[in-house]
Every structure is written in structure tokens, then in C-alpha cells.
């Protein structure tokens, strides 16, 4: 069911409208939010794919599945920035994910934030869908803060291999994710802003499907055993290495995000824009998983070109499947 949850008048007509989709009986739902930034299109695409899928189950077009729990999705949060084709709404220049928990009587961003918070605060699970920061591409992965047993179980059930444990930051208290600290919640990140990568979205879609089946939100009548080969690994923030430029120019990448790099392996090179000369070779300082890669080729000095998740600690935290 598509439901309008907020209408804000526009001075020139064409109201700003915020929607949520709901499936299943009442109860503590799974909330899935995308479009916090106007250019995070992978999440919006994934949410639309999920809508099609859940609609078809409810309509009885998927004989293998029955919906036994409740799911609600919020495909577009920063509607103004989506309309303007940009990451942020040009009129306020505000990062929507720094506006939580918001204020119902406040300005546009605060009012939107408050609406999303009010509609998700009683959820049992929460998932935020996002892309990499501007100029980067993320391999599909899970982000968590201090993961407790419930969140670890979520990671297990999602069956997505890579889990990054984020540091607490000076901006986190105004993020949606932080408001959800009493809800079992994760962030799923994949791809680049401004683009849709169907393959990466499919990885996350399968993850959400795995999760819904494992948690009993969705019943699969075929009783298929999940593929037990996938193992998730939680990387702590001190296991992340950012590989930075020492020159500036044009960065030409030679690897794919999500690949495993060997120490010394070439990630790409920086060339001078005018002469075409190679200024530096960017290489992996250690073995590891390339979770984030520079996508936009124009680069300044001191910019990260890659984030590698290493196994430099002797211990490994694997989640059992």
C-alpha cells in the first residue's frame, strides 16, 4: 500500500510529497529507507525492485512465497534534491542525513526528517540503503556501529560478505542511523552516486531476501537450505587503510571495486593532465579487500584513491553461518 506521509506546499505549485509503502499485517515492521541523498540512486532502484517483488507476493503471483511479517519502505527521503537532480537541495544545501531527529514544525529538511523518524521509530529492524560518497564507488557491504548480538544476527542473516564497523563520529548523533540505536539496524552501501548498478543492487536484494526469510518475515515454501559457503567478516575501523595520492591530476584505475588486492598490486596511476606523464603509481600497501575505489578521475593531492580492508590483525572475526 502506497501512503502519503507528508505534504509540504511549494510556492510555485507542485507540492512536495513523501511516501511510504507497507506490506503485511500490523506489528513491528522492517523499515527500509533510501534516497537520503538525492544522488543515491542504487538504493532507490533497489527499493523499487523490492516493491515490485513484494507487490507480486501479496497479489499471489509468487506461489513459493508468503509474507508473514510486515515491511515498510521509504524510497525517497530528500525529494527536493531528487527533483533538482542533485545530491543536496540547492535551496538549503543541507545534508539531509544531518537533520535527524528533525522537527515537525521546522524547515523543510527538519520536517521531512521528523516524519521519517516518527514512521520508523517503532520498527523492529531498520535498513538504510546508500551509495559511496561523491567521487567514489563502494563494493556492496554492510556498515554497523557497535554491533550487539541482534545486529550480528542481522549481518549473518543478510549473507553479505563484508561488514565494516564504523567509528563513532562527531556528526553521527544527527544521522538517521543513530536515531535507530534501539532498533536492530544496518546500512547497506553499494555503488556510486548518480548511477544505478543492477548487479550490485541484485547482491543487496538477495541479501534482504535472505534476511527476510531467516527472520520469518517471508516464508519460502520450497524449504531451500541457504547456500552455506558465504562467510561474513566484520572489519574494525583500524583494519581499514586509505591509500592517498601524493600528486594531483587524472587518476586511471586498473582494478575493480570488491576485488582482493595483493600487497604491491597496482590500483591505478595518476597522470598529469597537460603532459600525460605518469606522476605516480598507486599501489596496495597491504593485502586486502578493495571496498571503496575512486571513480571520478580528477584528483587532488592527499585524496584517498582506495579504501582497503586488511587482515593485519592476527585474529579474525567471522560470523558463523
Amino acid at each position: 500500500m502506497k501512503e502519503k506521509i507528508l505534504t509540504l506546499p511549494n510556492p510555485f505549485g507542485g507540492d512536495l510529497e513523501l511516501y511510504k509503502n507497507t506490506w503485511g499485517k500490523s506489528g513491528e515492521p522492517l523499515s527500509i529507507v533510501s534516497g537520503l541523498q538525492g544522488d543515491h540512486l542504487n538504493g532507490m532502484f533497489l527499493n523499487s525492485h523490492l516493491t515490485q517483488f513484494l507487490d507480486s507476493i501479496v497479489e499471489g503471483l509468487h506461489p513459493h512465497y508468503t509474507l508473514t511479517g510486515q515491511v515498510q519502505t521509504f524510497p525517497v527521503v530528500n525529494a527536493n534534491s531528487v527533483r533538482s537532480g542533485s545530491r543536496l537541495w540547492p535551496l538549503d544545501g543541507m545534508n539531509m542525513d544531518l537533520a535527524f531527529p528533525g522537527n515537525p514544525d521546522g524547515e523543510t529538511a527538519e520536517s521531512i526528517a521528523s516524519t521519517i523518524w516518527q514512521h520508523t521509530r517503532d520498527s523492529f529492524w531498520g535498513i538504510i540503503l546508500q551509495s559511496a560518497p561523491p567521487h567514489y564507488e563502494d563494493a556492496p557491504h554492510i556498515q554497523v556501529y557497535k554491533p550487539d548480538g541482534r545486529v550480528k544476527k542481522m549481518c549473518t542473516d543478510l549473507r553479505i560478505e563484508t561488514v565494516r564497523r564504523q567509528k563513532e563520529s562527531s556528526t553521527q548523533k544527527v544521522n538517521l542511523f543513530h536515531q535507530w540505536q534501539d532498533i536492530s539496524s544496518v546500512i547497506l552501501s553499494a555503488g556510486s552516486p548518480r548511477t544505478i548498478n543492477p548487479q550490485q543492487c541484485e547482491t543487496l536484494f538477495q541479501g534482504i531476501l535472505n534476511f527476510m526469510k531467516a527472520e520469518g518475515i517471508l516464508k519460502d515454501h520450497r524449504n531451500k537450505k541457504p547456500d552455506s559457503k558465504t562467510k561474513a567478516r566484520i572489519y574494525k575501523s583500524d583494519e581499514e587503510i586509505s591509500v592517498r595520492t601524493t600528486t594531483a591530476g587524472m587518476f586511471l584505475k586498473e582494478v575493480k571495486v570488491g576485488s582482493h588486492l595483493k600487497q604491491g598490486q597496482k590500483i591505478g596511476e595518476v597522470r598529469d593532465i597537460y603532459s600525460g606523464k605518469r606522476l605516480e603509481e598507486v599501489t596496495a600497501p597491504e593485502d586486502g579487500l578493495l571496498v571503496t575505489l575512486r571513480q571520478y578521475p580528477i584528483v587532488y593531492e592527499k585524496e584517498p584513491m582506495a579504501i582497503i580492508l586488511t587482515a593485519k590483525k592476527s585474529w579474525r572475526e567471522y560470523l558463523p553461518f
Binding site: E107, S111, S170, Y300, K302
Partner: protein, 320 residues
């Protein structure tokens, strides 16, 4: 010793000339408090650039006329977000990022975070007091004022009172401040005043001159300058707590046509302006002041959405 210009950060750029953050150091004759002035964190806020310009001219002249006047080191950082300033944008355009939301721990690695960390480190190592100049955003005009987070009131209030601002507003902390330069300096026990003046994209010379005089008064108060400021009397600022501030917000979306000017003293029921519908020609709302007081924030950008602030009023005594 002459003025020294230092480059605190230099970043090679893809097209040649590097991005550089400069600071001018006016060396001291003794070890009185070191005061640093920062401006340009938001690239479209220009009022502080004018104040720093006046300070630099004044201090350079002082070096020749009264060589012993500078008793504590004075540092001026005249343009700390060079790319945003070049483009006259609040955000660092290459990243669409507000650099004044990147201070403090735990931020993901980026050039912006590297930059804010370098600036924070430099200020911490060379300042006993910091002044961070800001203008308002695109929408609102602000009377020269200092907003102080309650936790830092004890240290900041005496300094703020010497700064020749019209208003000091003491308010509780909000989570959003935790990633700002001012908050992080204050938390590291370096008293930092965030002075808000005017509006972005403009220089209001009279406001700038007022704060320039305030800064000389402050430098004299701290002993950093040992000569009496050449100026007229310093304003006794209005001091307000949150319950002494009335905000009027738009209850419709439209164009705001103001009928008042910043700094006016208002009576209850005075007309503030009207909200008009640009498409139909209707008047959506006549806005009047809910209480008497000093008008210290005024909407300048007419395009208004429901919930947008239109004015803020420091309530007259007896109205709280």
C-alpha cells in the same frame, strides 16, 4: 620582528597552482594571550573577510607606529576554505561538503577532513583565544551577534561582552554543533567566539567596522594589545536566553515581502511583512510581531517555504 606569512596547508591541484591555506602571524613582544582570527570557512560569507582585512591593515601600521603594542601573538587566517571562496559557495564545491561539519573525531578519510584537522591542529597549537567569523546563510540577515553554548558560557561571556556585538544569545548545546570548528576548540579548552554578522554574499561595512572596533577592544581587554583602542564606546550587548527569543515562522509557502529592517525595536502587533502567492496574486498571510523587542534576525531571501524562519526577536524585559 615583521609579520610572517605561513602556509599551514598546501595541496597540489590537478591544474597546477596548489590550494593553500595561509596565516599571518603578528609576533609578540611578550607572552600575553595569543589570539587567532579565522574567516572563510563558508566560502560565501564575506563579512569576516572585510574585518580581517581591517585588522591586518591596522596591525601592520601598529608595527611601525607602536612597535611594542603587540604583547601577545595575533594570528589571522584570512581565507581558510579557498576553493569555496573562489566559487562563492557555502560548501567546498568539489565535494559538495560543508567543511564546518567535518571537525571532531571519527570522520571518514577525505581531503576535506584532512584540511579541517590541519586547521584545528594549527589553531590549537598557536592560540589561547579564537574568533571564528561567520555570516548568515542565503536566507537570513543577522545583527552582529555571538551565540554561546551554555556549557561554555562562563569562559566566553566576559570575552563576548567586549566584542561590540548587539546581542549575545546563550543557548543549550545541540548535536549538530559537535562537528563545528568552534565547538571542537571550546571543547579542547580554547575559548572560541563564533561571531555571526550580516548575510552571505554581501559586505555590510558599518557592521564590519563595528566588529573591527570590538576586536580591538577585545585584544586590549586580554592584554594582547597594550594600547587603548582608538574607537568610540563599546556597545553593551543585549543578553538573551532561549525563552527570551521569539521566532516567527512562515505558515505558508510563498514570497516574503518584508516591511521592517534589522535592528528595529518593535511593538506588539507591528507589521513585519506579508507572504504573497507569486502564482495567484493572493496575499497568503499578513505577519505581525507577537511581542515587543529587538529585531535581530530578518528573512532577506523572499522565497519562503512553510516552516521557514521569518524573524527572530529579542523580547523586551518583562515579556519573557
Amino acid at each position: 620582528m615583521p609579520v610572517q606569512t605561513q602556509c599551514i596547508l598546501s595541496v597540489k591541484s590537478p591544474l597546477g597552482p596548489p590550494i593553500e591555506i595561509l596565516k599571518h602571524v603578528f609576533p609578540a613582544q611578550s607572552n600575553k594571550p595569543r589570539v587567532s582570527f579565522v574567516t572563510g570557512l563558508h566560502g560565501d560569507e564575506l563579512e569576516g573577510l572585510y574585518i580581517c582585512h581591517r585588522l591586518m591593515r591596522y596591525l601592520k601600521e601598529l608595527k611601525t607606529t607602536y612597535p611594542n603594542a603587540i604583547q601577545g601573538e595575533i594570528n589571522i587566517y584570512p581565507a581558510v576554505n579557498p576553493q569555496a571562496l573562489e566559487n562563492s559557495t557555502r560548501l567546498w564545491p568539489f565535494f559538495s561538503l560543508d567543511i564546518n561539519r567535518t571537525f571532531g573525531p571519527g570522520q571518514s578519510p577525505s581531503l576535506a577532513v584532512e584540511t579541517s584537522q590541519t586547521l584545528l591542529d594549527d589553531l590549537q597549537s598557536s592560540s589561547d583565544i579564537v574568533i571564528d567569523f561567520h555570516s548568515s546563510n542565503l536566507h537570513l540577515m543577522e545583527l552582529p551577534q555571538i551565540r554561546i553554548i551554555k556549557d561554555f558560557e562562563k569562559k566566553l561571556l566576559p570575552l563576548a561582552k567586549k566584542s561590540n556585538v548587539d546581542l549575545i544569545w546563550v543557548h543549550p548545546n545541540a548535536d549538530i554543533f559537535e562537528s563545528t570548528l568552534g565547538f571542537n576548540l571550546n571543547r579542547s579548552k580554547i575559548p572560541t567566539l563564533v561571531i555571526e554578522i550580516g548575510i552571505c554574499h554581501r559586505i555590510h561595512q558599518s557592521m564590519g567596522d563595528q566588529i573591527f572596533n570590538g576586536m580591538l577592544s577585545l585584544l586590549h581587554h586580554t592584554g594582547t594589545l597594550n594600547i587603548t583602542p582608538p574607537s568610540e564606546k563599546i556597545i553593551e550587548p543585549r543578553q538573551v536566553q532561549p525563552d527570551q527569543v521569539a521566532m516567527v515562522q512562515a505558515s505558508h509557502s510563498g514570497l516574503f515581502i518584508k516591511q521592517v529592517e534589522i535592528g528595529q525595536t518593535l511593538e506588539k502587533g507591528d507589521k513585519l511583512g506579508k507572504l504573497i502567492d507569486p502564482v495567484t496574486g493572493n496575499v497568503l498571510e499578513e505577519i505581525v510581531t507577537p511581542c515587543p523587542g529587538l529585531l535581530f534576525t530578518l528573512r532577506e531571501h523572499p522565497l519562503t517555504h512553510k516552516g521557514s524562519p521569518l524573524v527572530r526577536i529579542a523580547k523586551s524585559v518583562g515579556e519573557q
